[in-house]
């Protein structure tokens, strides 16, 4: 996945978020707060993290997943994880 850019990661992550909580992908931006803007609660977050791990082939440790407040935080984490892979 050397070609993954923040933009493609965002698009793929938005699809996952849409499947889990139904938020429209067009409304999902890096600034979107998972809890305040997208209605993601802790259970939905577990599901989103798992789907992202599966889809990007990375792992997001539990302690780090707790710090992912916005979609942009998650995109940055995934980008780093892919670069390290």
């Amino acid at each position: 996945m050397a070609t993954a850019t923040a933009e493609t990661i965002l698009s793929q992550l938005a699809t996952i978020i849409n499947e889990v909580v139904g938020a429209e992908t067009s409304t999902i931006s890096p600034e979107s707060s998972f809890s305040d803007d997208l209605g993601v609660d802790s259970l939905s977050m577990v599901e989103i993290i798992y789907a992202a791990e599966d889809s990007f082939g990375i792992t997001i440790p539990e302690e780090e997943s707790k710090n992912l407040r916005t979609v942009g935080n998650a995109v940055a984490h995934i980008e780093r994880a892919l670069a390290d892979a």
Partner: protein
């Protein structure tokens, strides 16, 4: 060397009848929120539960499992004396011995049937059904009464705002007998004792007695949720494959009712056909542990949703951690 004779059984086993018992007392979220700091909206949103059923003093484990067992026998059109093994899945029998199954066999009039309890928490029904299927196919038993019953409220901390709204009581049963082809598919089951603390009893009985405190059920809900999404989904997929079926051949899906959100998440992963009927009775019953799957089966019959010969996918998962998935053809 002397050759011994052994029994030979039927090519397959088949569920012949289904029955359940749900306690009379219905406790809605508003009633519960009188003593826990929560709200109807929060409980519904996080679990799907609208109300649950709690057993009264006269609705003992024996009373509930006996009613479920009688209903399953009646549905199968069979007499108690036709049963030669009684299995009870439970983890809330508060006496260590004798087994509840033995008392139940006598209560129902199953005569000298072999009888024992199965301890596999919320996967208990699947474990017991797998044993019943194997007994019938081996010719060790001809007709097996498989009963699951739990009174989780005996081990519920009613002031724990993380669990008090989840747990409830109930019983369910099926009668399993011989068939000329497999009517219960291979079980996909197992355990993961490395996660024994994810759902556990706060105190073992000896410690509880020493401290003079009752033990309660406690769990890490997010860990259970992630486990259900990953391992349990995989088990469910393998149960379909093990029966030689494709997802589009499944008519009914009855997962253990741990949380409606787990069912939602599993469905997103499993991608079963849109017309599969899915049990979601946790909304009315709460989490009844081992009995949730047979209660689900009985409710599907009650609602007229079971066509004879329907294929039903079942998966139980819970404290241990333990899991069991299988497909069965329903009568």
């Amino acid at each position: 060397m002397t050759d011994l004779r052994q029994t030979t059984g039927a090519p397959g086993s088949h569920i012949l009848g289904v029955g359940a018992y749900e306690p009379r007392r219905v406790v809605d979220n508003a009633e519960l929120c009188a003593w826990i700091d929560s709200s109807d909206e929060w409980i519904r949103q996080r679990t799907g539960i609208v109300e649950r059923r709690w057993a009264g003093e006269d609705e003992s484990l024996l009373a509930m499992t006996a009613t479920a067992g009688r209903r399953a026998l009646a549905h199968a059109g069979m007499a108690p004396t036709d049963v030669d093994a009684v299995l009870v899945a439970t983890v809330t029998r508060l006496a260590q011995f004798p087994a509840l199954a033995v008392e139940l066999a006598a209560e129902l009039g199953c005569g000298p049937a072999a009888a024992w309890d199965v301890s596999a928490a919320c996967a208990g029904f699947g474990y017991a059904l797998a044993q019943a299927d194997a007994l019938v196919r081996a010719g060790t038993a001809r007709h097996v009464l498989v009963v699951a019953g739990d009174r989780l409220t005996d081990l519920t901390d009613f002031h724990d705002r993380a669990t008090a709204f989840l747990f409830a009581d109930g019983a369910g049963a099926v009668v399993v007998g011989p068939w000329d082809r497999p009517g219960v598919g291979p079980v996909v089951w197992g355990s993961d004792g490395s996660q024994k603390d994810v759902i556990r009893q706060t105190l073992a009985w000896d410690a509880a007695v020493a401290k003079g405190q009752p033990p309660f059920i406690t769990m890490d809900g997010q860990k259970v949720f992630k486990w259900a999404l990953t391992d349990v989904v995989e088990v469910t997929r393998r149960a379909i494959e093990a029966a030689g079926l494709r997802p589009e051949q499944i008519d009914l899906f009855v997962p253990h009712q741990a949380n409606d959100r787990i069912t939602d998440a599993m469905l997103r992963q499993l991608r079963l056909p849109a017309d599969v009927v899915v049990s979601r009775h946790i909304r009315q019953t709460g989490n009844t542990s081992s009995s949730s799957i047979p209660i689900g089966l009985a409710r599907l019959y009650h609602d007229g949703l079971v066509a004879p010969g329907a294929t039903c996918l079942m998966v139980g998962f819970g404290a241990g951690l333990v899991f069991a998935g299988q497909v069965a053809v329903l009568p």
